[in-house]
């Protein structure tokens, strides 16, 4: 698990579920946004941009390739934010 607090993880999950139009119990740390939840590239960018805005960070778009599931998002965000 990346270096995120439970509170941060909950906020991230909430943002992801809102964007993917999913209930929170439908998403696990490992379930894949694209393959399992039907996300497209626009949704992926939306997740990235929403996290940037929420946590006041800048995430390199190259990191999108790692942001394929919640665990990937936690890792990328923790690195980008220097948590």
């Amino acid at each position: 698990m990346a270096n995120v607090t439970a509170e941060q993880a909950a906020t991230i999950k909430e943002i992801v579920c809102e964007i993917l139009e999913l209930e929170e119990d439908e998403v696990t740390g490992e379930s894949l946004f694209r393959e399992d939840h039907g996300a497209d590239s626009l949704r992926a960018i939306e997740i990235l941009a929403s996290l940037e805005k929420e946590f006041k960070v800048t995430i390199d778009q190259a990191e999108l390739s790692r942001m394929v599931n919640l665990n990937g998002v936690y890792e990328v965000l923790a690195e980008s934010a220097g948590w």
Binding site: I19, E52, K53
Partner: protein
């Protein structure tokens, strides 16, 4: 040669959702203006105290939650109207049964003013210029609504957006006519839409001339289904009207009335229609001097014939880009109620404050 035929239509208007609601409301002549203080979904201060709104139009309730999270109001109006016209519900995922032969031509002023303003505001007020809601980026592009309809209903024919102010609805008929004439589509859905939002309210208020005060804004979407006539004229019993011609022009130094007389005269001449064939006239009736000039031109051209005058299209407020699309469906509704309409011609005119002039001629079936 027979022109393209209007075979069906639908509308989402301040009279309600669907064709039947518009027909009922238009016939009743009742006003649809409501006080805005009761509209919880409208945020921020408005320039208006009242407007003509589509009653109970909450996108999530009308179209469902899936795929509508970031949908703006004008897109919701268009998707709903097209769904009614196609008699289908569609959905947010690309259709598995795409329709290659149906085109969509949508008239608009700027798409959604609100979507554009929201994004611009966020780039200026947030900590970084790129801290914006990316889901709203597609909405800020003028053809977002037409594109969303194509996805929602699997319409793979040509997909066009025409920004021609009040003229837009009439202009889409011309665009649709050309798509049919060149074999680019078998069916064309033509129409126009306008949303009511706080942002539009202020934009309108700031750009209004001194003679245009008292304008009550309206919103909605009206779409018609257009197709080419059968080669032998058989099987066209479903036609409601034939599009005889569309012409456009701009206001010159002689003013709106003189310019419009020329535009209408050109339309009649090109279509080979005599004045005596005219059954009804429908004016776009903008507020102020432009509206007075429009009526003056129609009176000069047809006053002695005493045609049925379809004034402002119902009591639905100033519907901006959707105005002439609503004139079309109001004319189709009035024709059903008139024993004198069949086989005769309706003259629809459009006058925009920016100087654009338009005319469509419809022969009622």
């Amino acid at each position: 040669m027979t022109g393209p035929l209007i075979t069906d239509w639908s509308a989402v208007s301040p009279y309600g959702i669907g064709r039947a609601a518009f027909e009922e409301g238009f016939r009743s002549g009742r006003t649809t203006s409501v006080p805005l203080e009761n509209e919880d979904w409208l945020v921020g201060e408005r320039a208006d105290t009242e407007a003509c709104l589509v009653p109970g139009f909450v996108i999530k309730e009308v179209l469902g939650k899936k795929g509508t999270r970031a949908m703006d109001r004008v897109t919701g109006l268009v998707v709903t109207t097209v769904g009614r016209l196609l008699d289908t519900t569609g959905g947010p995922l690309p259709s598995e049964d795409p329709d290659e032969d149906t085109a969509l031509v949508l008239g608009t002023t700027h798409g959604s003013h609100k979507s554009m303003v929201d994004i611009t505001r966020d780039t200026l007020t947030d900590e970084k210029p790129y801290y914006i809601n990316t889901a709203h980026i597609p909405n800020a592009i003028g053809n977002a609504s037409a594109g969303m309809c194509a996805i929602w209903y699997g319409l793979k024919g040509p997909n066009a957006t025409i920004a021609a102010g009040r003229n837009s609805g009439i202009a889409t008929l011309n665009y649709g006519r050309r798509l049919l004439a060149t074999g680019r589509a078998r069916t064309v859905l033509c129409g126009a839409a306008e949303e009511y939002t706080t942002d539009r309210s202020w934009l309108e208020w700031h750009t209004r001339g001194a003679d245009e005060t008292g304008t009550v804004l309206g919103e909605g979407c009206a779409m018609v289904q257009l197709r080419a006539p059968a080669a032998d004229g058989r099987g066209d019993d479903d036609a409601l009207a034939e599009v005889l011609g569309v012409s456009s022009g701009i206001t010159g130094p002689d003013g709106v009335a003189a310019g419009l007389e020329t535009v209408v005269g050109n339309a009649l001449r090109r279509a080979g229609i005599g004045r005596e064939e005219v059954w009804a006239v429908s004016a776009s009736a903008p507020a102020g001097e432009a509206g007075r000039q429009e009526l003056k031109a129609l009176d000069a051209l047809f006053g002695d014939l005493d045609p049925l005058t379809l004034g402002r299209p119902g009591q639905i407020g100033d519907t901006g880009a959707a105005t002439s699309a609503f004139q079309v469906v109001a004319t189709l509704t009035a024709a059903q109620d008139s024993a004198r309409a069949a086989g005769r011609v309706a003259v629809l005119t459009s006058v925009d404050r920016d100087g654009a002039l338009g005319c469509a001629l419809l022969r009622m079936r």
